[in-house]
Symmetry: C2
């Protein structure tokens, strides 16, 4: 088993990474927990619910299950309230422990519920998508969406443990694997050129879920993320903000098309390509490196052509985003590969990048990636 430690002012906890961890989750439940509430969705519950609950039942504690509807469009306050209804309806007290069993949506909603239920209870992340394993389950950012913006309402609330079972990726659709890989290569592009090069060499192995390659990619991603959030939990020094590479463009894609049309990772992948173009235009990134980024996003199976939302709407969507500060639009750019920095860019340059990265002919088409259950 690989263990990565996260150490923030808001909490210190381990990330356990291994095949078969689902059967060991009980190890992360504290002795004083009064009840355990597994929060999941019908898809994940059908695949892994009973196994996880059998493991948890071994603690001798009461185990409840809350099933939320599946999908980004349900990452809302209404869904959050279903958790509160269940917790209060079952008289769960301050020492209950929530277990988030699912992808980033379940993790974000469950984490936020844990952050505010009775002003804060403990929770364990059990991420079952690649994106959640390498990114969303680590670092304590939790949130729900608002009709006027993604992740606009949330909290910083660290889990007490993250349990990553690499085996669960076998049931994940290929498109979701590609979306998760976008976040993996992002770490290389931001902070670690060597890891980026390793991803270039291993893109086919990663897409094929080669166990050794996948385990290394997850562990290295978690290490980098743990390192960043340990230094800058609340995104105050500028370091953690670098993890938003590709997100300003990506969020515009997601909210422009309506949450759920593109996967979050796909939008980030495409957004990284756009951020690389902008970096080449205004921040000095060598064209060859912008090309490497585009090629790797393509190699992991993510779209590199953005939807045509209309130039003004693009700008508009990027500005309502919370990366806006005092009206000035800022981006994470790459003056060089593996060394991202926060920079501002003139509106004209942004418009030029949008103009040459969008698909003009069909503005709402989904990315042409084959969806198949592995």
């Amino acid at each position: 088993m690989t263990i990565v430690d996260v150490n923030t002012p808001g909490g210190r906890y381990p990330i356990h990474i291994a095949a078969g961890r689902l059967d060991k989750i009980a190890e992360s439940i504290p002795a004083d927990a009064t009840s355990i509430v597994v929060v999941t969705n019908p898809v994940v519950a059908g695949l892994y619910g009973e196994r996880v609950e059998r493991s948890l039942a071994a603690t001798g504690k009461r185990v409840l299950r809350v099933e939320l509807p599946d999908g980004e469009q349900y990452k809302t306050w209404e869904t959050l309230n279903l958790i509160f209804d269940a917790l209060l309806g079952n008289r769960c007290d301050r020492r209950c422990v929530l277990v988030a069993l699912g992808g980033g949506v379940i993790g974000d909603v469950t984490g936020f519920a844990a952050a505010v239920y009775m002003r804060g209870v403990r929770f364990v992340q059990v991420p079952t998508t690649l994106l959640a394993q390498v990114d969303s389950s680590v670092g304590g950012k939790t949130a729900v969406n608002h009709p006027l913006g993604k992740n606009m309402v949330g909290a910083f609330h660290q889990p007490i443990a993250v349990e990553v079972d690499t085996d669960v990726l076998k049931t994940l659709p290929a498109r979701e694997i590609s979306a998760g890989l976008a976040e993996v290569i992002k770490y290389g592009a931001i902070l670690d050129t060597e890891f980026f090069a390793w991803c270039e060499r291993n893109a086919p192995a990663l897409r094929a879920l080669d166990p050794e390659a996948v385990t290394y990619a997850i562990a290295r991603s978690c290490e980098i993320k743990a390192d960043v959030v340990s230094q800058d939990e609340r995104e105050t020094t500028g370091l953690r903000a670098l993890l938003n590479l590709g997100h300003t463009f990506g969020h515009a894609i997601e909210s422009g098309l309506g949450y759920g049309a593109w996967l979050h990772g796909e939008a980030v992948g495409c957004g990284m390509v756009q951020a690389a173009e902008l970096s080449a235009d205004v921040a000095g990134l060598p064209l060859a490196d912008a090309q490497r980024i585009r090629a790797l996003v393509e190699a992991i199976g993510c779209p590199t052509v953005a939807p045509d939302l209309g130039a003004d709407r693009w700008l508009d969507l990027m500005q309502v985003d919370k990366k806006t500060e005092g009206g000035e639009l800022r981006f994470v750019l790459m003056p060089s590969l593996g060394a991202a920095k926060m920079r501002t860019a003139p509106e004209d340059a942004v418009r030029a990048v949008i103009a040459r990265t969008v698909r003009i002919e069909d503005s709402t088409a989904l990315p042409a990636v084959v969806t198949e259950v592995a």
Copy 2:
């Protein structure tokens, strides 16, 4: 001006107490604020909105107003969402500052909105009820209610300043003054016998809003509360939990009759009388001291006879409360006056106290306190 400092891990800030502070609130707005959003309700806005906004406009920053419906029954997620709608609709970014202008309801809702909007923005408390000035505006507890329980969803989020204008109490109904005084005498009963005795001597002056007496009572209350929350911000050591004296009984009254029927402070006042009875029965409080508590609650104009909810329902309502831990019912009791402690009590003893403190003949009658606008 009296200044009381609060110093918690979650934030350090001053409480400014003086007549006329409403005109000086701009002093608490940080220079880097991008906009100022006054959150209030129609009653308070009608009385003080323009004055406060005039003061804030002097900063040269954009000032917005959000009016929420007035009343405990609106302390809900739906109301909270009105704030998010306004903030996002007006493109308020992470550096906006919220100003909570109103009583405890406005303070709790606005504080919670500030805690979770974009995962946390700054806010200033401008409490306009006595209860809010001596209690709810200090210490960073924020929350909304859930149909199954009061304050069940919330966060710890400290304000950056508390601005107490003692003049605003002049427009507060007498019944609200009495309810606020319940929280004032609570501090004495829990931690400070001398202050309790001072309140006994000054009850008539306090009810008549004698400026000197009121200012001292507010300052001393804020000092005690600041001291407690500075030592135990998140209610983990047991010290802060003592501030819940009277709350287990009080919450049962409030939720049993429906939020808003009794004022929060009235329920706490009556709950203190019940906690004193229970303390005399099981914790060794001299009968004479239980009698002093009853007499002072009466002297400040709060009810001392509880509504008859039915014994089983009383027990039921006290257990869903978040003071429950692992199924065991716990109370803040007073082994002696001015030295409250966390204790458990046998169910029989609790039933006995309920039986002799409820009004049998009319279960839903409002407390017989004259309501008049001063």
